[in-house]
Amino acid sequence: MGSGGKKAKKEEDFSFQVDLKGIIRLLSENLYSSGDVFLRELLQNAVDAIAARRELESEFTDGKIKITYHGDTDGQANLVFSDNGIGLTREEIHTFLSVIGQSSKRGKMERTSFIGQFGIGLLSCFLVTDEIVVKSRSVREEKGWQWLGRSDGTYQVMADTEISEPGTRIELKLGRKMARRYPEERAIELLKEYGFLIKVPVEFAGDSGNRRINDGFIPWRQSFCSGEEILQFGEMMFGEEFFGVVPILGEGLKGYAFISERQTSAATMGRHKIYLKDMLITEDGKDLIPKWAFFTRCIVNAEHLTPMASRERFAVDHALAKARNAIEKCLFEYFVNLSKFDVNKLKRLTIIHNVAIKSLAVENEQIYKLFFPFLTFVTNIGDLTGLQILEAAKRFPVYYCAEVDDFRRARPLVGNARVLINGGYIYDTKLLQLLKHYFQGVRVEMFDESSYAELLEEPSESRRREMAYFLSAAVQALDKFRCGAMLRQFEPAEAPALYVASADGFLDSAFLDSGPSGFLEGFEFGDSGGYGNKLYINAANPLIQRLARVRDAEMMDNMVQIVYIHAMLAGHYTLSERELGVLNHGLMKLMEYGLGGEI
């Protein structure tokens, strides 16, 4: 719009129209992840009110919260929360209970004393009822007031003569549906969960009798507590036995990280109990507990974190980062100390969580260096720890196979002369590849098809001469399988041959499967046909020595093919249709030879 010219008319201000009922529903239904939180919000209001009174009256020390629950005969229930906290004046009732976004905890009082800051906590009660009655008498007034709020956004305030002492009483009527969802036992269970750490006594009176909600034993509040007692506390909180416990101490942080005795996965969620100023906020530790500490279950009470509006998560700010770092430091120092002073315990821990720790070690250098010495690996000479591998790799090259099948094939040939690790298990190859990045002067090499050539000994010159004809026949016989043939001698001498497939073997099959493309006519691929797949024929094997004396070309061809198939089977390779055909044909031929004469 143009701005020039004189103003034709006085500008008007307008206000947004607010659908109060809709706003209330929106806030109460969408802010929280579950309806359960109304109990926490009521508990929090009571705790905050008592704290506020204590700030005003230093001599006030006997704050208490009482909750009553009584079921009606018609299936409904009455839930009443009472506290002897600061209470509300008439003016405060209008301001704080009836203006969304306003809270009695904002402004006058020291904000850090409370976790309720949004003035919307009471709205959560509309998740379970359509009507909230608040009866309150402020410590500053002689007279009490009653506020009746409805989910349609209307409210009434009237004088209340019943309430004689300072404090607040909140009455909720749970309809049948909500009374079924929140029966007395469930209410107790939730109150215990949320209010376990609350210092003010919380009494519960219900149809099943009276009880104290929060009389639990909190180890960090004791002047002395044994490790055994702390572990029992963890067991009670999480319902499982623990291997050890790490005290968590930091600025405004108290708690424990219990180390699980069960194998756990890094993806496990909802395993912790994170409190803010004694009130349970979340069981999801992803913002606060380092990802790598997934094998712990933590109970932490924080003082300085900022809750989000729903009070189910924390604001991501400097305080959160600081707390996270402090927890990480406690955990890390614990493991470092274990590595120095209680190696056996650390070893046991890595045995329990071997795979999980490996998954972290490949991602994190610190974890790698801390845990690698205690991780275990399968090798040709039994299970070895990372430390043993590290020591060996400083003295001579240590080899690993990237696949389990490779390990199985190479293991008998390697014997005990060198360390060969099975890197085929998840994360092992990655860990072994990282070894030389993190530790100086170590030699760790992958054992691949080219390593066989180095491992298997060349036969003597005279043996090679003796078997030259046989070798050239073998090269020819195997050409149709795109497999090279080489003469070597190796233990065990009973093995006539060793077949080693290279990944190139698959590429070689490109020539076989579909016929040549025609582009490669005129190319030469050298003596071994350029094939990646190799059959190492064992010159030390008596059968091969006899076979080398055969001069019947057809018989030689058959025998070499059988040796080839046998080596494939011994190496756990899968036979293709072509090879199965050769096997069948070869067996028939062998029978013919058996019946007709000697080799």
Binding site: A402, I426, T429, K430, Q433, M446, D448, E449, S502, A503, D504, F506, L507, D508, A510, F511, D513, S514, P516, S517, G518, F519, L520, E521, G522, F523, E524, F525, G526, G530
Partner: protein
């Protein structure tokens, strides 16, 4: 990371993903570290091919195949036998799997592979004009079927073919596509996928000023901002490599006059005694022409290595041809300067090491070049080996007297 376009949700199984992830971990650093990891990376990428084919994960299959092919063709890895096998796999599978593995990440790797295989074939006399035409047709078919603007960077290989065949029309077509790829940000690297092939184009068309301007632009780093990362990563993004490319193109295209003009202007650059490794045969020739005769021991070792790799077919015949011509010129210069004998291991096993006069060495390399040149002439009508050899020989007239 070599397979960086692949995310977990692009890969069918955990096992395959673990291998892809491992390949990416091996290639997190700079290109030198990629090259150092070749012994682990090549078998791993081969295994990925095997598994991807078994699991019919065609997207991973063709992507891995294209990247593996590119990787093993790098001068530091250079596995020719594997490259030949992969080219056969491509022929087997590309058509049978029409429509498969055309994945969510836009680039179609079959076009890329067809182009790279064509570029690879160009360097072999076993691949004659007929086969080249067939492969070019396959590239065009792939491009029509799968390609898009994404694939215009693949015209780097078409430019190589155009240069070899001295085909100015094909070169113009390639230049247009490369220009577009560069403007549309589809060039992977400004230097490798734009500047270097375009230098070849300008030399083919005798465009002196355009060549100088392009070299100067890259040297001043006056290239589009989106490509400036090349100066951090690309191993070719430096003045000497670019000028090498120009001079090399002049000789390969038989343009000795142009060579003389550029060399007269740039020879100062080559006059400083060689530093680092003497591992680039063309660069050694240019340095010798400029009067730098340092690193003689290393240079003779490289001459032996070039000869050995020619015999063992570890380099392509075309590269071996050009390098033989470089050594022919090099030893001729030494001979002209009256240098004494050189101890060289040529043409066979260790017993063959002996003293050669520089003339004998020059003649040996000339013979090898002539053999390969004759093969190339038989296979490619427009190669004209005699022109190429003449340009190399004439380069000696531009040598700086010491």
């Amino acid at each position: 990371m070599i397979l960086e376009s692949l995310k977990r949700n692009h890969v069918k199984t955990d096992k395959l993903w673990e291998m892809v992830d491992r390949a990416n971990q091996l290639t997190q650093g700079d290109y030198d570290s990629w090259d150092n990891n070749a012994p682990a990376l090549v078998p791993l990428m081969e295994r990925i091919l095997v598994l991807a084919r078994e699991q019919e994960d065609w997207q991973v299959y063709f992507y891995d195949m294209a990247k593996l092919f590119w990787y093993i063709r790098r001068s530091t890895v250079n596995n020719i036998s594997l490259a030949l096998k992969i080219s056969e796999m491509f022929h087997r599978d590309y058509e049978q799997r029409v429509g498969e593995g055309v994945g969510p990440f836009a680039r179609e790797w079959r076009v890329d592979l067809a182009a790279k295989i064509l570029g690879f074939y160009c360097e072999y006399p076993q691949i004659d004009d007929g086969k080249i035409a067939r492969m070019l047709a396959i590239f065009r078919e792939c491009e029509a079927r799968y390609g898009s603007d994404w694939n215009y960077g693949d015209y780097t290989e078409i430019m190589t073919l155009a240069r070899l065949n001295r085909d100015k029309d094909l070169a113009r077509e390639a230049a247009k596509k490369l220009e577009k790829a560069m403007f549309d940000n589809y060039c992977y690297c400004y230097v490798c996928t734009y500047a270097r092939p375009m230098l070849g184009y300008h030399i083919l068309h005798n465009e002196y000023e355009e060549t100088v301007e392009l070299v100067s632009r890259v040297c001043r780093k006056a290239i589009p901002a989106k490509y400036r990362w090349c100066f951090e990563k690309c191993q070719q993004a430096n003045e000497e490599d670019l000028k090498d490319t120009v001079l090399m193109n002049c000789l390969e295209l038989g343009k000795s006059g142009q060579f003389g003009r550029f060399f007269a202007e740039w020879q100062e650059l080559y006059r400083k005694p060689g530093q680092g490794e003497a591992d680039d045969t063309f660069n050694i020739l240019f340095r010798a022409l400029a009067g730098d005769w340092s690193q003689q021991k290393e240079r003779l070792l490289l001459a032996e290595q070039d000869d050995r790799e020619r015999r063992e077919q570890k380099e392509t015949p075309l590269d071996s041809l050009y390098w033989s011509l470089c050594w022919y010129c090099y030893f001729r210069m030494m001979d002209e300067d009256g240098a004494g004998n050189v101890s060289l291991l040529l043409g066979g096993n260790a017993e063959n090491r002996r003293e050669y006069s520089c003339r004998e060495a020059a003649e040996y390399f000339e013979r090898q070049a002539d053999l390969l040149g004759a093969q190339m002439d038989r296979a490619r009508e427009r190669f004209h080996y005699s022109n190429v050899k003449k340009a190399f020989a004439e380069s000696l007239q531009y040598r700086r007297s010491v």
